[in-house]
């Protein structure tokens, strides 16, 4: 971003950026093709930034989100107030986070009045976090934030997590000051020793200590330009980060409930497995739900849950279903970027969407493995959403390859 690049001159030193000069009319006096070209180039640039090779990613993430709730969050430079804007975006973030990292856990902290408070504990349940965020809207923002207190509290929560998980803290900091009880350098050292990555998103201006924390712990520090940029910055944290190389690998025991028992498997099914029972996830709340035969039984202790993924309260086994793990597989086998080529007269249609190539589209994209030609929109769709090349899946040689 322009703010963090120290070698670039400030805007008032280099004169105005004449952005209107980028738009030119073509021969007929029409602007359409030029605009389409600019849009296409912007799209490609965004997509190209995401293309990474096969590096080790932290799949099981334990992330604490620290929200600044100090007096400066009532400023209205983000509509309606900074605090409400951030909460709204965090709801989207929570939804996307669990979508992309189903076996991860999230916790929320706030900091105000020189202290930090825990809103939700580290959990994998999406609804609880979103409900908590909605209740936070009534919170009054006052006092001064304390960076050290919130980092220490998050660190206490993350210290006991297993070594194979990726420990992260995301701080949304809107203030230019912090009020700390002790030496923050000691906290930074402790964070580094515990392998915790701290990423900070600044809402006001760049603060030196935030830059230092992010740099020393291996995280990122960005300051937003406007609310769209804030959304992009928050959503960029959804992607699993590359592992620094010091995470231990271990075998985690997990249960896969929800099987239809068959004679061949050898697993015995008693009628107790499908009898109505109270589910353990709601047993503490006032309205506990009586489940019909539709819940999931923990394979180790037999307790009933209504939704997955969940950590069994009775025996501590993590219960997931196979699609949850499969959601993360596409990070491990990313598609190589497609090669950009000039249009060839032989291929008249895009392979994946059967769209006719028109003259205005100068560039088409080819997959290295299967050599099928696709249009720009399909390229972005494949890269961002589908995560598998339809051309490779339609070729008997490449489709049968075990993804290794």
């Amino acid at each position: 971003m322009a703010d963090e690049d120290e070698t670039k001159e400030y805007r008032w030193e280099s004169g105005y950026e004449k952005t209107w000069e980028a738009i030119k009319e073509d021969d007929d006096g029409l602007l359409e093709s030029n605009v389409a070209d600019l849009v296409a180039r912007a799209k490609r640039k965004r997509a190209a930034l995401k293309a990474t090779g096969a590096i080790q990613l932290g799949m099981m993430r334990h992330l604490f989100v620290v929200v600044d709730a100090s007096a400066c969050m009532f400023l209205q430079d983000l509509k309606p107030t900074r605090f409400l804007c951030v909460l709204k975006l965090l709801e989207v973030f929570v939804h996307e986070f669990f979508d992309l990292n189903p076996i991860s856990q999230l916790g929320i902290l706030t900091t105000k009045m020189k202290r930090s408070e825990q809103i939700t504990v580290l959990a994998g349940n999406q609804k609880k976090h979103i409900e908590a965020l909605q209740q936070l809207k009534d919170l009054s923002c006052e006092g001064e934030p304390s960076l050290q207190n919130s980092l220490e509290r998050a660190m206490n929560g993350l210290k006991n997590m297993p070594a194979h998980s990726s420990r992260e803290i995301l701080v949304l900091f809107g203030s230019l000051t912090t009020c700390d009880p002790g030496d923050i350098q000691k906290t930074i050292k402790a964070l580094k020793d515990n392998n915790i990555r701290v990423s900070i998103i600044g809402l006001a201006a760049e603060v030196r200590i935030c830059r230092e924390i992010a740099k020393k712990t291996g995280g990122t520090y960005n300051v937003l330009i406007d609310d769209h940029h804030l959304k992009e910055l928050i959503l960029s944290q959804v992607q699993p980060p590359a592992v620094a190389g010091s995470i231990e690998a271990s075998l985690v025991k997990m249960g896969f409930p929800g099987g239809t028992p068959s004679v061949n498997d050898g697993t015995s099914d008693s009628s107790a497995d499908h009898a109505p029972a109270y589910c353990l996830c709601h047993i503490d709340s006032e309205t506990s739900s009586l489940m019909g035969p539709n819940g999931y039984n923990c394979p180790q202790c037999g307790s009933r849950y209504c939704e997955l993924p969940v950590e069994c309260k009775q025996c501590g086994l993590t219960l997931v279903s196979a699609p949850h793990l499969a959601r993360s597989y596409h990070h491990l086998f990313p598609i190589k970027p497609f090669i950009e080529r000039a249009q060839v007269p032989d291929t008249t249609h895009c392979f994946t969407c059967a769209k006719l190539f028109v003259e205005a589209e100068t560039n088409v994209y080819e997959c290295e493995n299967c050599h099928q030609i696709v249009c720009l929109d399909c390229d972005l769709f494949i890269r961002e959403t589908l995560h598998t090349c339809p051309g490779c899946a339609s070729d008997p040689v490449t489709a049968q390859m075990k993804t290794n």
Partner: protein, 299 residues
């Protein structure tokens, strides 16, 4: 924010047909015409029935076998083939009929070179991925006054292919994200993967007992759109087996060991992961440090 004007609902059905020539079907004659002919006649009739529901409705048909996948309708051939329609027949019906038969002929001709095509798996994953890309394109091109309601109908008779697991799962998650409902009509065998897909996207899975009645099943169960399915009594949802298969024996496991790096599943605890070759550290704490801690406290 509610729309002040009602948006026109455009229903798009993408039919994905598995045209793998299973020997069982190709050789079973029924009333003079072979089973394959009857299956495709039923599918064309179903497609036309869908187009007949509303003038805005759209259709796409993709066929696949073990060699390749092909868009049957809309046809990707540049030349406009002349088609004869009976007087009074809606033009589009004749076009669908002609395109599907011609495309299918080409697809089967391409497959004739290999004799043991029934041994390798059908490329259903690739065909479904193309269907999703087509749906995405139609969504983009549709004007704002129309609201697209897409769904994919998979008609297949092949067993699951374990090697295409990744493709299938990516397709299902994409469909869930894009609000595309995946329905499945299985003719011969059951498919666990497609059952999972129908469950994930909220579609209908049906295993039909007799292939001769394919058209009846398609029209009764799969023609109504998902929004009105709640008013109809449809076959009950099957209980889907969501257990994972271990990577070493391909057996379904209740409790498994998952590698934290590559997420591969094993049925037994081992020292090294066979997929990503990482060594595991034992989780169990050693007894000796605890004793020494106790000694330190006493002293």
């Amino acid at each position: 924010m509610e729309d002040k004007e009602e948006r026109i609902e455009t229903s798009l059905v993408a039919i994905v047909i598995d045209a793998t020539p299973a020997k069982k079907f190709a050789s079973q004659p029924l009333d003079g015409s072979s089973m394959m002919n009857r299956i495709f006649d039923s599918l064309i009739a179903f497609g036309n029935a869908h187009l007949m529901q509303a003038s805005h409705n759209k259709l796409a048909i993709i066929a696949c076998n073990s060699k390749s996948t092909k868009f049957l309708y809309p046809s990707m051939d540049g030349n406009s083939r002349s088609y004869q329609n009976r007087p009074g027949q809606y033009d589009m019906f004749a076009k669908v009929d002609s395109d599907v038969r011609h495309g299918l002929g080409e697809l089967i001709l391409n497959d004739l070179t290999d004799n043991d095509s029934t041994k390798s798996d059908s490329l259903l994953g690739g065909a479904m991925a193309r269907a999703l890309c087509y749906i995405h394109r139609v969504q983009r091109e549709l004007s704002l006054s129309h609201q697209l309601k897409p769904r994919v109908l998979v008609v297949s008779g092949s067993c699951d292919s374990a090697l295409q697991y990744m493709t299938f799962m990516n397709v299902f998650f994409t469909a869930q994200k894009e609000n595309v409902v995946i329905d499945c009509c299985m003719m011969d065998t059951d498919s666990g993967l497609l059952q999972q897909g129908c469950d994930i996207t909220g579609g209908q899975y049906l295993h039909i007992p007799s292939v001769a009645g394919l058209l009846e099943y398609l029209l009764w169960v799969f023609l109504p759109s998902p929004s009105c399915r709640s008013k109809i009594v449809l076959p009950p949802p099957t209980k889907v087996d969501y257990r994972a298969a271990c990577f070493c024996h391909h057996k379904l496991v209740d409790i498994g060991w998952v590698c934290s790096v590559c997420l591969s599943i094993f049925c037994k605890f081992s020292i090294m992961c066979t997929t990503c070759n990482t060594e595991f550290k034992l989780n169990r704490p050693a007894i000796v440090p605890a004793k020494s801690k106790k000694r330190a406290r006493i002293e």
